[in-house]
């Protein structure tokens, strides 16, 4: 029941909208089947399957709107949910920022559904965990990991003729390997559309190698270092920065994207000229739903930063009207253009530096400069003359991604990572003068 076909979904949406007596109405039907398995201390701890399907209906009277949701779809239920949305709309205060319900949209075609993920069985999940645990036991390390897979659909429609349907699959696997004495730790991730391309054993091997190599870490003085940040180390910082690409906050003067004296920094060269970020729902590496969640506006390929210049900030329809700007919906994926080198090649070309496998517990310190703090984790190594020399203790960093993206020395091949609930393609970066402010004893 949770996954409906395009025609089944359309039938329900058409029917519920027919019950509408409001000026305008819109509806979103979304369903998913999510499976998971979790293990720790080399033993499976929990596993589960979650099914869900829900219809959300919004009724509009001018600037008043009401939303009601329901998870049953008989005619009586569909009428009931629409009536409830209408009642809520009549009772709700006017929202001066409400924009008209959208009419038909032309959505790009997205190929983000893989049968191997859709057909995954509990036995396959158990085997995925077992492959990781067996690899850990062989190397005498302790595994803790989590696999979550999902098949999902979303369908949207409005009383003004809009309709869209999108089906997707995804699987995300993360694993932490720790040596038995707790002195070494490694982590790895695999984020895919097609479960058939996931190999939890080989992903686990990456984490095991890091755990073993990171033992007996030496302390280096905090300070500014040339660093090679692997994709999962980069994503934590750029994820924060891109979440601040908002035109309204910038225009209101409360963002690192605000311009002194008023306005925003679109058109300014703020980054190294190689920096290029864009979103594209049809990207084959990170396919994504082709409309915005809030109002079903179509998503298209959008440059955020190109040649180091700020090209776009997300701008909703209300703010676009107020600021006489273009509507730019919030994206569902992110792609950072990288280079053609592997992490090994980046290391080979480094005289002195630090390899950072992963960053952790990143928080905003100052939104004015986008200064972030966080820590390195699960494999931090000193590089000398093109080789990893020895593991080093973890550092706390205090750094702005804006500064980091001005100090790029080189870039690696982008890899798919999970970022802020969406998927992103992010390269490893070699960056000079990265600021480590203190040491951490954590392993």
């Amino acid at each position: 029941m949770a996954i409906l076909s395009r025609s089944e979904a359309k039938r329900i949406l058409d029917k519920v909208l027919k019950f509408s007596r409001a000026n305008e109405a819109s509806a979103q039907l979304a369903g998913s089947e999510t499976g998971n398995i979790r293990y720790a201390r080399n033993s499976v701890s929990t596993s589960g399957i979650v099914n869900d399907i829900e219809l959300a209906v919004e009724a509009r009277y001018g600037k008043k709107s009401g939303v009601a949701t329901i998870n049953e779809f008989s005619d009586a239920s569909l009428e009931k949910v629409m009536r409830r949305a209408e009642e809520l709309a009549k009772l709700s205060p006017e929202n001066p920022e409400a924009m008209p319900t959208l009419g038909a949209q032309k959505y790009v075609s997205v190929d983000g559904y893989a049968k191997s993920t859709a057909d995954i069985t509990p036995d396959q999940r158990a085997k995925a965990a077992a492959d990781s645990i067996i690899a850990a036991k062989e190397k005498k390390v302790v595994a803790a990991g989590y696999l979550e897979d999902e098949r999902a659909f979303a369908a949207v429609a409005t009383s003004k003729g809009l309709f869209g349907y999108h089906a997707s699959t995804s699987a995300n696997f993360t694993v932490t390997m720790r040596t038995e004495d707790g002195l070494g730790s490694g982590w790895a991730e695999s984020d895919v559309t097609d479960f058939g391309t996931m190999n939890t054993g080989s992903t686990s091997s990456v984490a095991i190698d890091k755990a073993v190599l990171s033992q007996e870490a030496r302390a280096l003085e905090p300070g500014k270092y040339t660093v090679i940040l692997e994709p999962n180390a980069v994503s934590g910082l750029v994820g924060y920065m891109m979440s601040g690409f908002d035109a309204r906050n910038a225009d209101e003067g409360r963002s690192f994207m605000s311009k002194k004296g008023g306005g925003n920094r679109i058109g300014e060269k703020m980054f190294d000229k190689r920096v290029h970020f864009y979103s594209d729902p049809a990207d084959l590496n990170v396919p994504a739903q082709p409309w915005a969640d809030n109002d079903f506006m179509r998503l298209e390929r959008t440059d955020w930063i190109k040649d180091g210049v700020v090209k776009n900030l997300a701008r909703n329809r209300y703010w676009a009207e107020q600021s006489k700007g273009e509507v730019v919906p919030e994206p569902n994926n992110l792609i950072m253009v990288g280079g053609d080198k592997s992490t090994e090649e980046l290391i080979k070309n480094t005289r002195r530096g630090i390899l950072v496998s992963r960053t952790w517990y990143i928080r905003m310190v100052d939104p004015q400069s986008m200064l972030l703090t966080g820590l390195t984790r699960d494999g931090t190594f000193y590089i000398e003359n093109g080789k990893i020399k020895y593991p080093v203790k973890n550092f706390r960093f205090n750094e702005s991604p804006v500064i980091m993206l001005n100090n790029i020395e080189d870039m690696g091949i982008p890899q798919r990572v999970g970022m802020w609930g969406m998927s992103a393609m992010i390269p490893a970066l070699k960056v000079r003068d990265f600021t480590f402010s203190s040491l951490s004893d954590a392993v």
């Binding site: 009601a68 002194k260 939104p367 203190s438």
Partner: protein, 543 residues
């Protein structure tokens, strides 16, 4: 079972808050409907207990839950969103073949819950293949039928939405009049109606209420391009709508007004506007070592991160290694009986009983009567936070009552109880404390926070910073963050104010587990001094 959904709330200084949404969106009136009668829940519970036992369970518990949330969100003169949700169902946990199994259903018929009970047993039997050590449960004596309610005076869900909107609009208008450029303010209301029954012979009906009224005020100087924010100083509480009465007796006047058992949000909003503006031209701190005087609305979060989390037994044992992390407070340190977590002034206790706290319940989610116990006594690590299936690992026979599941559809597991710092025994006020500091900073309110995965190294900011020179506050400062190591920090604790200054702070949406679950927890303390802590200056220039 239902999928977890989130509502994204925009905010400055963070990427925005993700509010968990449970169940379906309904009208505010529906939140006031009487739930299922206790006798019917008892009937369903007995169906579950009998079915599971027949299917081979050696232990069973069932939580029949109705979870109600109401979120009212505003900015400046507009209501941004009002969301009411209701989630109803039953979660069944069993032990069969020495292994846990869990299943949940929203089909609350006798057939529906019996089916889920059988499913839970089947899951346990299937997972038993991978189990290396059978579950060992600390004994709990069944207590028959009991009920408990958060001691509220006014059920916030019964207050009309229009009244809440008017209340927030007054708050916002006050801040705008006082010179705020922008303000976002919200009310988050939670009611958990939980019926727990277990094969131990307990039938526990609890009605739990929580409330949070956060806000963020922003001041912008467009000419210089500088902007500053000041968040509200309220704390999430286990209280009713009476918390928003802002009684005079609950106010502590000082550099800013601080609040005890009730909160004057309108007053705090006006103060926030003035203070945010003052931040625009405040002196930037000189980095170095300072004696820190930490006010409870700030220190509560430091306690949460540097004491609450590292003493969760599941983290210590490695069950959270892949997500939240592990802990520096390992079993060998605890077993030594000599691990100096803090100075001899430091006693940190856990509880789920303090009135007005977020953690207060009569029984936890596996039917254990709640209590208070010490974690750190006179500076020495003495205990952890544990559940029924964990206490045997620390050679104890009685569960601490730390089990919680954030929904009927989430399996319950070990969650942090309230963790608090015992007040000083000698009469000593915050003013006395400031008077005794030569070079220091007085910090109020929660700001940026980050700590490593074993809880050694941390960095905290705040909302308001006041420089202290020779026993006097000399002015507001900015760009302050302090860095320390948990053990060094608590050993640098040199003075704690007395119980008249003690109050509760807390966190409403603490995340843990995979799939992630939220929980709400309070931390009590009095204003406390920490000597010679490293303070950094956080100001940076981007071109």
């Amino acid at each position: 079972m239902e999928r977890r959904k989130f509502l994204k709330i925009a905010g400055v200084g963070s990427s925005g808050l993700l509010l968990p949404l449970q169940g379906v969106q309904v009208s505010a009136e529906q939140l006031l409907n009487e739930g299922m009668h206790s006798s019917h829940k008892r009937h369903l519970a007995d169906v579950v207990l009998n079915t599971a036992r027949k299917a081979g369970a050696s232990y069973t518990d069932v939580r029949i839950g109705r979870y109600l949330n109401q979120y009212v969100m505003t900015r400046e003169t507009n209501v941004e969103n009002i969301v009411n949700t209701e989630s109803l169902g039953a979660g069944i946990r069993v032990i069969a073949n020495g292994t846990w199994g869990f299943a949940a259903t929203n089909d609350l018929t006798a057939d529906g819950v019996a089916r889920a009970a059988r499913q839970a047993v089947a899951v346990a039997k299937a997972n038993a293949k991978y189990q290396t050590e059978p579950v060992r449960l600390a004994p709990v004596k069944g207590i028959g039928e009991v009920s408990w309610q958060t001691p509220i005076q006014k059920n916030a869900l019964q207050v009309p939405i229009s009244e809440k909107v008017d209340f927030l609009m007054d708050v916002n208008n006050g801040a705008l009049k006082a010179g705020a450029s922008y303000i976002q303010s919200s009310l988050y209301l939670v009611n958990e109606q939980k019926y727990f029954a277990s094969s131990d012979g307990s039938y526990i009906d609890q009605d739990i209420h929580r409330l949070w009224a956060p806000m963020q005020v922003t001041a912008v100087d467009k000419k210089s391009g500088v902007f500053k924010t000041r968040n509200g100083l309220s704390d999430p509480v286990g209280r009713g709508y009476e918390y928003l009465a802002g009684h005079k007796k609950d106010k502590i006047r000082g550099q800013t007004t601080l609040y005890k058992a009730s909160y004057d949000m309108a007053e705090d909003a006006m103060l926030a506007a003035e203070q945010a503006k003052a931040k625009l031209s405040a002196k930037s701190i000189d980095p170095g070592k300072y004696d820190l005087v930490l006010e409870p609305s700030h220190l509560c979060l430091t306690i949460h991160e540097s004491v609450g989390h590292p003493l969760e037994l599941d983290r210590v044992l490695g069950y959270e290694a892949n997500y939240a992390g592990t802990s520096f407070a390992t079993l060998d340190k605890w077993r030594s009986g000599k691990f100096q977590y803090g100075s001899d002034k430091v006693t940190l206790f856990a509880d789920k009983v303090q009135p007005g706290s977020l953690g207060a319940v009569a029984y936890d989610d596996e039917g254990v009567k709640t209590k208070r116990w010490d974690l750190v006594k006179d500076g020495v690590l003495v205990n952890y936070q544990a559940t029924r299936d964990q206490v045997h690992m620390i050679d104890q026979k009685e569960s601490h009552g730390c089990s919680y599941g954030d929904s009927w559809s989430s399996v319950q597991f070990q969650r942090m109880p309230n963790v608090s710092l015992a007040p000083g025994e000698e009469k000593y006020s915050a003013k006395d404390m400031i008077r005794d500091v030569e070079k220091g900073i007085y910090i109020v309110g929660r700001g940026s926070y980050s700590i490593d995965q074993q809880r050694y190294n941390f960095q905290f900011g705040g909302q308001l910073f006041y420089e202290i020179k020779n026993g006097e506050i000399v002015g507001q400062v900015e760009d302050v963050a302090y860095q320390s190591n948990t053990q060094e920090f608590w050993n640098a604790c040199s003075a704690i104010c007395d119980s008249s200054d003690y109050r509760l702070g807390g966190t409403f949406f603490d995340g843990k587990g995979q799939p992630s679950q939220v929980s709400a927890v309070s931390h009590g303390c009095s204003t406390t001094r920490f000597d010679k802590i490293n303070v950094i200056n956080t100001k940076r220039k981007i071109s």
